[in-house]
């Protein structure tokens, strides 16, 4: 197993571990341990660069996955910390005190996924979508097609095809 995982597993209750590449490790962690793990990674292990913070909507499992990707420059090593949140009560602790730039990521996540980060500077202000009142648009249950049909005029001459079916018809007009 990865040497970084060997060091971390004695200190934190890590759940699922994926060694994607020798220089990229993903670990899953209960949410209450996030801050202490990030502090440990930043101050002890040297993962001082917050590469990104984003979310993945696993709607079938009723969960959001938050991914905190950190980078250790001298060792050229990355670690992705995965946190699972229930979709219906998506609130997470803010990490803007560890990395000021995290406030921008958290502001975007609140707008696009509806995940709240209480206390994060400017988190309630609009970031990209001004005056948006619909469902947060990057959630899987937000239907872009329906939104488009309801809000924009139909332009004649445009058709939407299922790509697989359409290509099959184009390539094999007489059937397979």
């Amino acid at each position: 197993m990865h040497p970084l995982y060997e060091r971390l597993k004695h200190l934190f209750p890590l759940d699922e571990v994926t060694e994607q590449r020798p220089d990229l490790l993903f670990v899953t962690l209960p949410r209450e341990h996030l801050r202490s793990l990030l502090l440990h990674l930043r101050d002890i292990e040297g993962f001082s660069h917050l590469v990104l913070l984003t979310a993945v909507d696993w709607i079938e499992e009723g969960q959001f996955q938050l991914t905190y990707l950190l980078h250790n420059r001298p060792k050229a090593q990355d670690i992705g910390v995965r946190i699972k949140l229930a979709r219906d009560s998506a609130t997470m602790e803010s990490i803007h005190t560890l990395w000021p730039t995290a406030a921008t990521y958290q502001r975007e996540l609140r707008e696009m996924f509806g995940i709240d980060f209480p206390g994060s500077p400017g988190v309630e202000e609009d970031f990209i979508l001004e005056g948006w009142i619909d469902l947060p648009p990057y959630r899987r249950d937000f239907d872009t097609k329906k939104f488009s049909d309801e809000n924009y005029n139909h332009r004649p001459g445009r058709e939407t095809h299922d790509p697989a079916e359409y290509m099959k018809q184009q390539l094999y007009p007489n059937g397979l």
Partner: protein, 392 residues
Amino acid sequence: MGIFDADRSQYPTPGPDGSLDIDLTSGKYLKLWQGPNHPGITGNMSLELIVCGDEVVKGTTHVGYLHRGFEKLMERRTFIQCFPIVCRICVPEPDFNEYCYAAAVEELAGIQAPERANWIRTLILEMGRINSYLMYLGGQAGAFGLGVIAQWTTYVRDLMLDRFEELSGARIYHMFILPGGVRDGLPDGFEQRMEETLREIEETLQQVYDVMFCNAVFKKRAVGLGYVDPAWIEPYGITGPVARAAGVANDVRKDQPYLVYPELDFEPVIGHDSDLYTRADVRRRDLLLSVDLIRQILAGMPSDGPLMAEIPSVLHWRIPRGETYIRGECSRGEYGYYLVTDGSGYPRRVNVRGPSYTHAVALFERLVVNVNISDVAALLVSLHTYPPEIER
């Protein structure tokens, strides 16, 4: 140029949470909007500036004028349908999107791109870097009123676009780096025409150096402006030339080499003064490094070999559940793609990490305080920001 006044008595008092209590009705402060339509703004974004006299007291970045929902669009498209979309995220240097997306898909699908394709990919990325830097140099000089520099750099950039056109058939969005390899090899006589273009770029850069970097007006305004403290690099996620100008030699091409960079001989370009002048100079020298790298790539490139790996039928291409992150060093810093797949024929999530995301928002809002209004445009250009990376 504004002269920094150490007397802060004219400034609003910060509240307990650090936010400024600014009373716009007092007549002491004025709110100015720079953008979204303004010559002093980089692309489609705007700055909300509160000024006291000529000095900025507070600046806020507003984005969203170019939001096209790329990440959401890709969730409803097959892996190959995403390929023509990704390059549109960044106009001046679209190739990084193609490379990062292709490399992420290849990694999760277990595909290995052929060696010759990797050489051509590296060539394209360096050509794109030259284009992006030339655009930056023109913009940086233009922000100080040196309009002629932009005309020179636009001319040589056009020559590089000609090389792109003969290689890929397109000038701006090349759509050349496919998951699995590249679309084609080099056309006949490409090396010679590229050498002529590189010489022209070198000559123009020497003229740019004489007219811009040795210009007393440029020096007077640029030296000392927009100082980035090296201690901010990690907290603010600063990468690329902005970090290298602060003396931190961080360059993904060297730190975590990808494609054929391990076989090329180069050292990251660094500066030490961390002001606007140093950042411009680091980019000028980095441009010359790219010229050298292109010569090395053309000399070392294998003349034959496959250009595409075997990939599954694109109509039925499913990728097992997994996630990965691929990064590269673009002209502005670290560019990366975080790709999550769920076993279906569509990506579950694609997240694009552009360097402008941290530079243009958190870092810029900090840097702009105390800056004279006439220097704001130049300061923003010196961070080399492209708004589409922020709002994707």
